[in-house]
Amino acid sequence: MSAEKLQTCLWLVQRISASVLAVAVAVHLITIIAAVQGGLTAAEIIARVGGNGAWAAFYGVFVAAAAVHAPIGVRTVLQEMTPLPNFSVNALSALFGIGLLIMGLDAVSILYRLGGG
């Protein structure tokens, strides 16, 4: 794949993941506002979304979209704001994305298991 095509694909993927995030963030915020009645506590969150396969799938998609979207933006920031060579910029961005994915999926998995799933 040519560099131009790869960079254009990254740009497209960032926009597609942004549209997924827009829906996911809206559902997340609306759910918090609608569901939280007695204060935002870990027990209430686990009782509501823990152990639920549908919520785990939703937050799995949320994490995946964030893990794709954010590193592409970080890559642009590093290109514009630092003198780092392209190889370092790409490697740091990829590491950041992998870190987000691992931590995010780990959190979703723990939440699912704490709820008895």
Binding site: A3, K5, Q7, T8, C9, T76, Q79
Partner: protein
Amino acid sequence: MQGTLSVSIWRGGEAGSFQPYEVPRRDNQTVLDVVTYVQRKLDGSLSYRFACRVGMCGSCAMMVNGRPRWTCRTRVSRVASSGKLTIAPLRNLPVIKDLTVDMTDFFDKWAKAGGVFKPTATRAEDFAAIRPTDSKRRHADAGIECIGCGICYAACDVVAWKPGYLGPAALNRAWTLVNDARDGNGAARLRAVAGDDGCLACHSQQGCQEHCPKHLNPTAAIAGLKRAVAVAALKGRL
């Protein structure tokens, strides 16, 4: 009109400094009139560029009170209400001396962006018949009045952050050619403007549109290129 203007003008190269001058106010005085007065009456060693003086050639662009402007069509009364003017060489371009900048990168990027028209017909063939109302022709018409002054390039923060970025003027030129039915270099041009240093780097801050003295909208042209590049990538044509 009476009184004097306090004018600070950049002198020297990249490591120069501002020097103060007092210039008499005149009716309908332009910023270029002020610079010319300084050069002819106060300091003959001042270097600056101008040619047509009527907003056609695009050679007299400078930073005026921090904003890029075409100085021949910028009236002092519009930009120096406090009686003070600060005049500097265009931003984002290497300073040669005083108010003259090296435009090499700026014009090289026009070539890199595929800014050369490649005809598909020979002179033996008849004229291409293109309706002025054709949507592609209208997109091209919206951008063809560019005079290459470099003001959009100086106004662009992405150029400041990313020196390889092709910039608004070169991309605007590419968009006019993408929409020119007579041009035969479409695929190569889209490859030239795709990627990290091309249209995808634009943040749509619209500094180019805000400052363009010809009231063109390079941001819209770049948005058009982004769509064209995305479609080409999806169809496997990049």
